[in-house]
C-alpha cells in the first residue's frame, strides 16, 4: 500500500515480524510503537488509512528506518483475510507475532436490548478474531513457533447487568483463546490473553466512573513483557486480577441484585 520496502533479516540484523490488527486504536498504536522500538518489523492493519499511514510515518521516523507498513483492512471482510495474510507474511519475510486488538463497544441503557449493536460487537470482537486466528493458527502450528496475543477484557470474566453483548463477545473471545492455547502449546506456539480494565482511550471517553484506569502505553508495556516472558493470561493493571477473582466468586443470588 505504501511504497516502503522492509529490509530483509540478516544474521547481524535479525528481525522479528509482527502483525497488529487494529493498530490505530489507543492500545494498538501504543503497542505498535513499543514493539517497533524493540526491534519488530510490523504490518499495521486498520480501517482508517490516513491514521495508519501517519502512525507508520511516526514509527519509521522515530526509529530511522522502515519498520512499519500500513494495510487498510476492515475486519468484517472475512473473505479478504487469507490472501491478505499471505501478502503480509511475504512482505514482512515471515511471521513471529500476531496481535488482535480491535474492539467495538456500545453502552446500552439498563433496560435496552439492542440486537444490532450486540451483533456488531460480537462480529468485531469475536467472529473477526476467529476469522483471523483460523488462518494464523495453522501457520504457526506448522512452523512450530510464534506467539498470538488477543486483547480481550476483564468484561469477559463475568456476565453483568450493564452490557450483555459486550460481556458475551469478550467471554467468547477469552474462551476461544484458551482453547487455542490448549491446542497450540504442544506445537510450540504461545497464546496470550490480555485482559485490560479501563484504558484511557476514546472508547471510554464518556464513561463517568473508570476505576483503576491505565494509559494505553501501560497496556503496551505489559503486553510487551508478556510476549518476552511467554505469559498466558495477563491483567492490566495487576489489581484487576484480584478484583476479578472476587467478582468471579460472587454467588449468583447476590450478583443478580447488584447494579454494575
Amino acid at each position: 500500500m505504501t511504497n516502503t520496502t522492509l529490509n530483509p533479516a540478516t544474521p547481524l540484523n535479525p528481525r522479528k515480524h509482527g502483525i497488529i490488527v487494529g493498530a490505530v486504536g489507543g492500545i494498538g498504536s501504543a503497542l505498535s510503537m513499543k514493539l517497533a522500538r524493540e526491534g519488530y518489523t510490523l504490518a499495521l492493519l486498520g480501517r482508517n488509512k490516513k491514521a495508519l499511514q501517519s502512525l507508520c510515518a511516526e514509527i519509521n521516523k522515530s526509529i530511522g528506518e522502515t519498520r512499519a507498513k500500513a494495510y487498510e483492512h476492515d475486519v468484517l471482510k472475512y473473505d479478504s483475510i487469507p490472501a491478505l495474510l499471505r501478502t503480509i507474511t511475504k512482505d514482512l519475510g515471515g511471521l513471529d507475532l500476531f496481535v488482535f486488538a480491535p474492539g467495538a463497544i456500545y453502552f446500552p441503557k439498563m433496560d435496552e436490548f439492542n440486537f444490532a449493536e450486540d451483533s456488531k460487537m460480537i462480529q468485531v470482537n469475536t467472529i473477526s478474531a476467529i476469522a483471523w486466528l483460523s488462518e494464523v493458527a495453522p501457520l504457526f502450528q506448522s512452523m512450530k513457533g510464534g506467539q498470538i496475543v488477543g486483547i480481550s477484557s476483564v468484561a469477559g470474566d463475568r456476565g453483568r447487568v450493564g452490557n450483555p453483548g459486550y460481556n458475551a463477545s469478550k467471554a467468547a473471545f477469552t474462551s476461544y483463546l484458551e482453547s487455542l492455547r490448549n491446542r497450540l502449546t504442544r506445537h510450540g506456539v504461545n497464546v496470550i490473553t490480555v485482559k485490560p480494565g479501563f484504558v484511557k482511550t476514546k472508547m471510554i471517553a464518556h464513561v463517568q466512573k473508570t476505576p483503576f484506569a491505565v494509559t494505553p502505553e501501560k497496556v503496551a508495556d505489559v503486553i510487551s513483557m508478556a510476549i518476552r516472558k511467554r505469559k498466558q493470561t495477563v491483567y492490566v493493571a495487576d489489581i484487576w486480577q484480584w478484583v476479578m477473582l472476587v467478582i468471579r466468586h460472587i454467588p449468583s443470588f447476590i450478583f443478580r441484585r447488584l447494579s454494575f
Partner: protein, 469 residues
C-alpha cells in the same frame, strides 16, 4: 497442492545457524511438480527459491514468507560412464553421492567444496570453488551441459555452445534465473585414492601470500590456514597445505587406496570417541580467549614441515570431519566473511581488516586462504589473487558491533578491487554489490532475469538483499 498451504509453513535456517526464515515448503519429486509450483506461486502472488542442502552460510536458500522449493528428493544419478568420466545427475544429487559413485572407478569431481553435503544445484548456483581454483577454476568450467526449468515453465538445455549466455549466467546466478534439473559433469581421472600433501608453516601474512603464489603452480591444490589472533610481526602467520595427485605407478596399490572404505571419514576420533559429541566439547573454546589458545597451539603444532599421503575425502572435506561443528558456535551461530582480492592489493587490505578486527575485540576464530584466478561467469567472484575466509561467532551482544565492522571491511575490500562470494557473505548491501559487480554486469543480469522470469517469481532473501528489490 494449493489446499492448506499454511500447513507447509516451515522455519529453515542456514549452515551457520545464524539466520532463519519461514517459508511454504515443497519437496517435488518430478519436474512437472516444479511447473505446478511456479503456477501456484503466480496465482498466490508468492516468490520461489530453490533450496538444496542448505549449506550456504548466508540467506542464499532462504525465502521468508515465500515458497521454498526443496530439490533434495530429486537426487538420482541418471548416467555414469566410467570410461569417459561423464556423470549426469539430477540437481538434488550431492557431491557425496557423486564422488562415492566415481571414485572407485578412478575418477574424482573436478571441483569440490569443503563439505560434501552440497547439492549440484546449489554448487552451480553459487559456482563453488575448491582448493584448486587457481588450476581448475570454479565447478562451472567442468559442466558439459545442464537442463533447467525457467519460471515460465520452459525447459531449456545449456552448454558452453548452446544458450551460452544463459549457461554463463545461470551458473553463478544464485538460482534467480531458473531451477536446475540435471547436470552433466566431466570428472577428473585419478590414479590413486591418495594425495601427496606437503605442509609447512608461514611466519606472517606476506609469507602466507607469497607461498600461495609461488607454490601453487607446482601443485594441484593449495590452502592456507591463518592464525587470525596473531598480532604485530606475526600477523597472518599460519600453515600451508599443498597437495598433488599421484601419477600412474606412484601408488603401488591403487585398487586398495581407491576403495570406498579407505575414503570414508571415520565416525569416531582415535577409534573410540564419537565425533558427534565433539561440538559440545568444543563449545567452551569458541570465544575470544579460547580461540586465541587454540590458534596459538595449532600454530606451534604446525611448525614442523612434513609430507604425507592422505585420502581425497579427508583432504577435501574438513567441514565434514566433525559433524555438527557449527553447533559449537552457540545460539547466535556463525557467519563467514570471505573476500577475494587481487594479488597486488591483498596484503595491505587484509592487514587492515585483521588489525581492525583485533582492535575492536572481534577477532575471527578461523582464517583460511586460497589462490584464485578469474573466470568468465557473469556473477563471478574470482580475481587473479587470493581469498581469505574468516569465521565470526555471532552473539546477542556483538551483533551491532560486528555489523558495523563488516561494513567497514566491505569498503576496504572493494577499494582494493576485491569481490565477494554469495555462498558465504551475509551482510553485503546492494550498494556494495553494485560497486564490485559494476553497473554493466548488474544490468546484464537483470535483463536476463527479465527474459527468463518475466513475472519475478524467483526471489530469495539473498537476491532481495544484494539486488535491492
Amino acid at each position: 497442492m494449493t489446499d492448506n498451504i499454511q500447513r507447509r509453513f516451515t522455519t529453515l535456517d542456514n549452515f551457520g545457524h545464524s539466520v532463519n526464515a519461514s517459508s511454504y515448503h515443497f519437496k517435488p519429486i518430478h519436474v512437472d511438480e516444479i511447473k505446478q509450483i511456479f503456477l501456484l506461486a503466480k496465482k498466490l502472488g508468492l516468490s520461489v527459491t530453490a533450496r538444496g542442502a542448505g549449506r550456504s552460510y548466508n540467506d542464499a536458500s532462504l525465502n521468508g514468507g515465500g515458497i521454498s522449493l526443496n530439490t533434495t528428493e530429486m537426487n538420482r544419478v541418471i548416467k555414469w560412464d566410467a570410461d569417459t568420466g561423464l556423470i549426469t545427475a539430477e540437481a538434488g544429487v550431492t557431491l557425496e553421492q557423486i564422488w562415492k559413485k566415481a571414485e572407485p572407478d578412478g575418477w574424482w569431481p573436478p571441483v569440490v567444496s569443503g563439505t560434501m553435503k552440497t547439492t549440484l544445484g546449489g554448487c552451480l548456483s553459487t559456482n563453488i570453488h575448491g582448493k584448486n581454483n587457481f588450476q581448475m577454476g570454479p565447478i562451472g568450467e567442468h559442466v558439459v551441459e545442464f537442463t533447467a526449468i525457467l519460471p515460465t515453465s520452459a525447459e531449456i538445455t545449456c552448454s558452453p555452445k548452446k544458450n551460452a549466455d544463459l549457461f554463463y549466467a545461470m551458473i553463478s546466478g544464485i538460482g534467480m534465473l531458473g531451477i536446475f534439473t540435471s547436470v552433466t559433469l566431466q570428472m577428473k581421472r585419478i590414479y590413486s585414492g591418495l594425495l601427496a600433501v606437503d605442509a609447512h608453516p608461514v611466519p606472517n601474512l606476506s609469507g602466507q601470500l607469497s607461498s600461495l603464489l609461488e607454490d601453487a603452480p607446482r601443485y594441484d591444490y593449495i590452502v592456507g590456514w591463518m592464525d587470525t589472533t596473531a598480532k604485530g610481526a606475526s600477523l597472518g602467520r599460519g600453515q600451508i597445505h599443498a597437495a598433488r595427485y599421484l601419477h600412474e605407478n606412484e601408488d603401488m596399490n591403487p585398487n586398495e587406496t581407491m576403495k570406498l572404505a579407505n575414503q570414508i571419514l571415520p565416525s569416531t576420533l582415535f577409534g573410540v570417541f564419537p565425533k558427534a559429541w565433539l561440538p559440545y566439547f568444543m563449545k567452551p573454546f569458541v570465544n575470544n580467549f579460547g580461540a586465541w589458545g587454540v590458534n596459538t597451539a595449532k600454530y606451534i603444532a604446525s611448525l614442523r614441515t612434513h609430507s604425507f599421503r592422505q585420502p581425497h575425502g579427508a583432504f577435501h572435506f574438513l567441514l565434514d570431519y566433525i559433524p555438527g561443528w557449527e553447533l559449537s558456535f552457540g545460539k547466535g551461530g556463525l557467519i563467514q566473511y570471505q573476500s577475494f582480492v587481487p594479488k597486488e592489493t591483498a596484503q595491505s587490505a587484509w592487514r587492515e581488516i585483521i588489525r581492525l578486527s583485533q582492535k575492536r575485540g572481534l577477532p575471527s576464530y578461523l582464517g583460511v586462504t586460497k589462490r584464485h584466478r578469474p573466470d568468465k561467469f557473469l556473477l563471478t567472484y574470482a580475481v587473479d589473487g587470493f581469498s581469505l575466509a574468516l569465521d565470526f561467532k555471532v552473539t546477542q551482544s556483538n551483533r551491532a558491533k560486528l555489523s558495523a565492522m563488516l561494513q567497514e571491511f566491505d569498503k576496504i575490500i572493494v577499494q582494493a578491487g576485491g569481490r565477494f562470494y554469495f555462498a558465504k557473505n551475509s551482510e553485503t548491501t546492494s550498494q556494495t554489490a553494485l560497486n564490485f559487480y559494476g553497473q554493466e554486469t548488474v544490468e546484464k543480469f537483470k535483463r536476463l532475469k527479465k527474459r527468463c522470469d518475466p513475472n519475478h517469481l524467483l526471489e530469495s532473501d539473498l537476491y532481495r538483499r544484494i539486488f535491492g528489490v
